[in-house]
């Protein structure tokens, strides 16, 4: 099929852009309803504010280690917004923004990030794999899912997202190879944020772009400005349409920047050059899209303030609700080794229960003295 973006981008050396830094159109904008455009801006804010909130909770001992999402909001939203309900999404811990767009409630992540197992808040209808820690493995799962959907004859596609660091893993390359050979209805996205913890992008590959790898696996590779939500959206729409039409996988590279730390346990001042921070500050994805929306009177300052206040309330409510929830029984963890407990696991569960009871007993005794 004819795809403007892909045809435009047979050259993979210059990122595809729709909005320049001033929020002015430099290519044709995709057709998106005004309410959807505002919703995309809200999702970007949600991604940033959710991230800031979890970092704050972690500092207070109310959340576990977390990888901030800041700087990558346009990629997060642009990747997931064009997908349909039946489509699958699998990413790493830095793709939480995409997951929220795809339909996972912020509270489901809050629960997980507080150190508890995913619960029923993690919606099955969103078709999101649990986010991946062993980076790049998810790219194979996504290709397997895409192959399965093709075998089943459904019209669902699967989108795998990983970072520039993950592209060096064997699984990333095997995933692209399987996707190409089996013409899997998949879109494989590298969110190139410049860093794998402290290892810079140039140490992941000597190739000028990751998008150029597409040709080696028999698929188009597209380089896109990952801080331009419209460019990411349009590229993903076309790659998704291509997959859905049975024309096979596409590799997409979003160039963006991790403006925060790798995780709450990381200190980027040890390795990030100061000038990088300045350079990327000017490329803030929210600022660029805000200019676009304001110019078109789709949103104004007071409207955005209201939006931000609404998001803040939503996140705070979710945190409060989750912290008020009764915790799952600790020994429920035995339910997730296998569907049915083996006699051996049944005995071990008993061991854990006895320990829980002993701790409880000690607590009671301390209370009475």
């Amino acid at each position: 099929m004819e795809l403007a973006t892909l045809n435009n981008l047979e050259r993979t050396d210059k990122p595809y852009q729709i909005l320049d830094l001033e929020g002015q159109l430099v290519s044709d904008a995709p057709t998106i309803a005004p309410t959807q455009l505002v919703a995309m801006h809200r999702w970007m804010w949600l991604t940033r504010m959710f991230s800031d909130k979890i970092v704050a909770l972690q500092r207070q001992g109310r959340a576990t280690t977390f990888g901030p999402l800041n700087g990558q909001e346009a990629s997060a939203v642009g990747i997931a917004a064009p997908l349909l309900t039946q489509d699958w999404l699998g990413g790493s811990y830095r793709e939480v923004g995409s997951y929220m767009v795809k339909g996972i409630a912020p509270r489901a992540f809050i629960h997980g990030l507080r150190g508890y197992p995913l619960n029923e808040l993690y919606s099955p209808e969103a078709h999101c794999l649990p986010f991946q820690i062993v980076i790049a493995t998810q790219m194979l799962h996504i290709v397997g899912i895409a192959m399965a959907e093709k075998i089943k004859g459904s019209d669902a596609i699967a989108v795998g997202v990983c970072g520039d660091g993950a592209s060096s893993e064997g699984d990333f390359n095997e995933a692209l190879n399987f996707a190409g050979v089996f013409k899997a209805p998949a879109v494989l996205v590298v969110v190139n944020n410049g860093w794998a913890i402290s290892v810079p992008r140039r140490l992941q590959s000597a190739a000028p772009t990751f998008a150029a790898r597409g040709v080696g696996f028999g698929m188009p590779g597209v380089l896109v400005d990952g801080n331009d939500v419209l460019a990411v959206y349009k590229t993903m729409s076309e790659a998704a349409a291509r997959a859905r039409a049975g024309d096979g996988p596409t590799l997409v590279e979003c160039i963006t920047y991790r403006t925060g730390a790798h995780t709450t346990a990381d200190d980027p001042t040890r390795y990030v050059p100061r000038e990088d921070v300045e350079y990327w500050k000017e490329r803030d994805p929210l600022v660029r899209f805000r200019r676009y929306l304001f110019d078109r009177q789709l949103l104004d300052e007071s409207g955005e303030k209201e939006m931000v206040a609404g998001i803040e309330a939503e996140i705070n409510e979710a945190v409060q609700a989750d912290e008020a929830e009764t915790l799952p029984a600790a020994d429920a963890v035995f339910d997730y080794a296998f569907q049915e407990l083996t006699p051996r696991l049944e005995r071990q569960r008993g061991e854990m229960r006895r320990e829980i009871e002993a701790i409880e007993q000690q607590r009671l005794e301390r209370g009475t003295h």
Partner: protein, 341 residues
């Protein structure tokens, strides 16, 4: 088993065709694919070639390349895509051409297939059967003879099945495919064509986690699985001829889940035990069995439990493997030592 069932089974077996392990597994795969269209198979050379051992012979012709297909040479890719297919509702049966190649796929098995149920809070599961030929004795090149069950035994979330006969292979494979969790199904290479056995044409299921008492005895228990069951039988026979000792032989059939009840009952009765496996000794199933015996029936023991196993060295060159693998002579000696008062 009721008497009626036993008689029926005997009647079925009397008329059943005699099959090798390869033919029995092929028959099981065919039946699973016929009854469940979610079952798909893939791996290296399993399509038109029917597998390097011909286990999947004729299956691509019968079920088409959509359900039986060759993949690029990438074991992590094979297992990783299988995880995705299982999540998406298929029942994949990926093949790893030799168990020694599973090291390449270990991450996808250990951190992914085994974890997806926990990681997703039970939302997703990974019902798949990873078939892999394993074991020594046929003079293969390096990395073609490994026994890898010890690695997977230390990986919670995976089940491990190792049949010792064509009849068991067919019934256990049916159970493995029906299982809601990932199963590593290890097929002993030397046993693939070593003997035939009556195997019913129709589908039957042997539940996972149930050991088989191959022969009852009162003086000593021998625990084995896979190719070592036959080695244990030969050893027991020679010891019985020499000493008249009554030896019980138990085929564990699945390592995870492990039939601890049968193990403990047997040792409680006999008071003496020998464990036999091809895999290295260090931290192997033998060590686990000794621990189970200690925890449950130490005071029934009359002698220390002995292990007859592969040595704790990388699997050796072909000309040395007869010294590496447990033989009936080595097992018989261990039995005699354990029988001595």
């Amino acid at each position: 088993m009721s008497i009626a069932t036993a008689i029926n089974q005997e009647a079925t077996l009397a008329t059943a065709p005699k099959l090798t392990m390869i033919e029995a597994i092929n028959s099981a795969l065919r039946l699973e694919m016929e009854r469940d269209e979610r079952v798909v198979m893939f791996g290296e050379d399993i399509g038109s070639n029917g597998g390097v051992f011909r286990v999947t012979d004729g299956l691509q012709t019968r079920f088409g390349p959509k359900r039986v297909f060759d993949t690029p040479l990438a074991e992590s890719g094979i297992i990783g895509t299988a995880v995705g297919m299982a999540v998406a509702g298929l029942r994949p049966i990926p093949e790893i051409q030799f168990a020694g190649f599973s090291y390449v796929a270990f991450n996808q098995l250990a951190s992914q297939a085994a974890h997806i149920r926990l990681r997703s809070g039970g939302l997703y599961a990974c019902p798949m059967v990873v078939r892999a030929p394993y074991g020594g004795g046929v003079k293969t090149p390096e990395m073609h003879s490994e026994s890898v069950e010890g690695l997977f035994m230390q990986t919670p979330g995976l089940k491990i099945v190792i049949p010792s006969s064509p009849y068991d292979a067919k019934g256990l494979l049916a159970a493995a495919v029906a299982d809601p969790d990932p199963v590593i199904f290890l097929e002993n290479i030397k046993m693939y064509r070593s003997f035939k056995q009556p195997v019913p044409t129709e589908r039957y299921v042997l539940p996972l986690g149930q050991a088989a008492v191959i022969q009852e005895g009162t003086d000593l228990s021998v625990f084995a699985y896979g190719a070592m069951v036959k080695v244990a039988q030969d050893a027991a026979k020679s010891v019985h001829t020499q000493t008249g000792a009554s030896i019980e032989i138990i085929d564990l059939r699945s390592i995870v889940p492990l039939d601890e009840e049968t193990i403990v009952a047997s040792v409680t009765k006999t008071g003496r035990a020998v464990v036999v496996h091809e895999a290295p000794r260090m931290g192997g199933l033998g060590a686990e069995l000794v621990a189970i015996i200690n925890e449950n029936c130490l005071y029934s023991l009359l002698k220390p439990v002995l292990r007859v196993t592969g040595y704790d060295i990388p699997y050796p060159h072909a000309f040395l493997e007869d010294l590496y693998l447990p033989t009936p002579t080595r097992v018989a000696q261990a039995i005699l030592d354990t029988l001595e008062d």
